[in-house]
């Protein structure tokens, strides 16, 4: 029945909700020339995000998550370039658009929240000026309307004294408030898509929970879609509908969130899960993944995870495993994805082991 659908359409039909496609990235390759050679930071990434969906992009530092986002936004740091691929937003290929057109889309249709809430705000301007700038650039509201909208936005992101905060400078605000201001800025023009890069990493647990609830509200009440970039697998479990796992510039697994946590199919995904303290009793050492993400220059053939994979076989070093279907909307790039029985944090087996232990 699905045979006449393209692979991407098949992914759509496997999604948890029936929705239109908002973002579709195909074969994205992002390169950064360096003295030691060309770094292929993103190497053939396919990614789809539907309207109203929250999609997670996870992986260790240096896996290419941020550069994937920067490529979509046309914000690559020089001398980085998108070397190949298509980036469709609402059916239009963004790569065919001019710099000006892309700037208009950014901020208007696609909002973004970056990793460092301090450096993303200009220290010498008030919050009002900075959010106002976004509105001035992208709308034709007059200054009174802008002032009102700024206060309204600050209230919307849960700031209790919006008038006062509007007149504040970034240094006068706490980390949590700054992150709220950034979110207010990102949603100022009611974007359809919000790209959030580690939005809670720098925040304390209780403030993190506040921001998490705020993001949930934006999805449920304002219908915003979110591409959530993070290495926090618990945050993904709480917020996302579907997840892409990246390793060394490629997608190694994608799945609806439950399937991934109940039965991960790629050894890297399972290894990431096992690094979380609390996944196993504390008298055992954590199943750390030894080594680190390989350099992305002159990548040899074969599986990129081979040097760190506990299941590596000869074949893995010569043949690159393709990303293949392993279930409804579930794909993995491992030669043994079908035969391996890998634990995830929501596996039944584990649940029994931990029945008595506190879970976090």
């Amino acid at each position: 029945m699905m045979s006449n659908l393209s692979p991407l359409q098949q992914i759509n039909s496997g999604a948890t909700r029936e929705m239109g496609q908002l973002l579709e990235v195909r074969g994205l390759r992002t390169e950064i020339p360096t003295r030691r050679g060309v770094v292929r930071a993103v190497d053939g990434v396919d990614l789809v995000l539907h309207e109203g969906e929250v999609v997670g992009l996870v992986g260790e530092s240096g896996c290419g998550k941020t550069l994937t986002a920067y490529s979509i936004l046309d914000l690559l740091p020089k001398p980085g370039v998108v070397a190949a691929g298509e980036i469709h937003f609402r059916g239009e290929d963004l790569r065919r658009k001019s710099t000006e057109e892309r700037r208009a889309i950014r901020g208007n249709d696609i909002g973004m929240i970056f990793q460092e809430p301090l450096s993303a705000l200009n220290p010498v301007f008030t919050v009002e000026t900075q959010i106002g700038d976004v509105l001035r650039t992208h709308t034709n509201l007059d200054s009174t309307a802008i002032k009102e909208r700024v206060v309204e936005l600050l209230g919307h992101v849960g700031i209790s004294a919006p008038e006062r905060v509007a007149r504040s400078y970034p240094f006068e605000l706490s980390g949590g408030m700054r992150q709220r201001v950034l979110i207010a800025m990102a949603i100022a023009c009611r974007p359809a898509l919000l790209i959030a890069d580690e939005p809670t990493t720098a925040l304390d647990a209780t403030i993190q929970a506040q921001i998490m609830v705020l993001l949930q509200t934006l999805v449920e009440e304002d219908g915003v879609s979110i591409l959530l970039i993070t290495h926090d697998l618990a945050l993904v479990a709480e917020l996302c509908d579907r997840v892409y796992v990246m390793y060394a510039g490629t997608v190694v697994e994608m799945a609806p969130v439950e399937d991934l946590y109940v039965r991960p199919r790629h050894p890297y995904t399972s290894a990431l899960f096992q690094c979380i303290p609390g996944f196993q009793p504390s008298d055992r050492p954590l199943a750390a993944i030894e080594g680190s993400v390989p350099m992305l220059i002159d990548i040899p053939p074969g599986c990129r995870f081979a040097d760190r994979c506990p299941y590596v076989a000869d074949r893995c070093r010569t043949e690159t495993p393709p990303l293949v279907d392993v279930g409804a909307g579930h794909r993995a790039a491992c030669h043994f994805a079908d035969s391996l029985d890998l634990p995830g944090p929501a596996s039944e087996q584990l649940e029994q082991d931990h029945a008595s232990a506190p879970v976090y």
Partner: protein, 352 residues
Amino acid sequence: MLQHRCIEMSQVDPLLQVTDLSKHFSLRKERLWGGEPQVLRAVDNVTFEIGRGESFGLVGESGSGKSTLARSILRLHEPTSGRIVFRGTDITHLPERDLRPLRRHMQMVFQDTKSSLNPRLRIRDIVAEPLVTHKLPHSAADVNELMDKAGLSEVFLDRFPHQLSGGQRQRVGIARALALSPDLIVADEPVSALDVSIQAQILNLLKVLQSEMGITFLLIAHDISVVTYFCQRVAVMYLGQVVELGPSREVMGNPSHPYTRALVSAVPRTDPRSRRSRIVLRGEIPSPLSPPTGCPFHTRCPVKIGPICSEVAPPAYPTASGGWAACHLLAPGTGASNSASSPLIQTGEGKV
């Protein structure tokens, strides 16, 4: 306030005893004339002990005073009041000259390896630095051995810090801390800046140091799962005070203080099937320049019982976990002690 001390005294062979320790900073007023200097209560009347070979955790949100407490214990800050006894010696006001021989036995590991490692020194010199400072004889083999203990290859010896990854730099910080074979390592957020995979490597390393070398740890982390994994006991800090203390698994599995409950509830779970309604605290930590009267948590407490919370500082009451918590709800005989948890459980747990 004597109760928590009674519970604490049961510890055998304490390496470190901290009693009623406070560290207040006086801030100069913005205006030059008039007025008292403002007092910032970064650490307020903190009491606990750490047994030899124990791993003791400190959790709490940013600004709750964890680092200030650690730095005061190491005498990197002069304590405002209270007492610190380390290896049986009262070091609270010990002059630097007499403190020096004791400093060897207490070392620190930091979160920010970029600023805590001298960028102009090679790794071999960074690791040997404490030996040089304390004028101790050492050979290249000693440095190699330290590198080995910290799980660092000798190829890094001639590199500079910026040529290492974050995880490798943290290992250098640990190798340096090991140089003087300390009894106590105070680790301030040693894994917070690291990826989960690297974090797991470093936690495993610290565990080995604890079990094989018998090193005592004071571990500061805002990540509850890290502390629960690594520490036998934990103290939860809020606005400069310890609000709950006890065995870490029990405290985090069955918290008694409303703040600890909120903190535990805020931790996202790694199971998408048990997304839960959580206790979301309103607002942020009040300023330590004007801390609330009574219970420090009363301005955000979701189960505040009444005026007593804002008027009377709650004493420490024993908890089911075998530790103590400072909350009026736990007062025996009020009938409230059993219902303390019920309003929170309703909002706190989504899973059946």
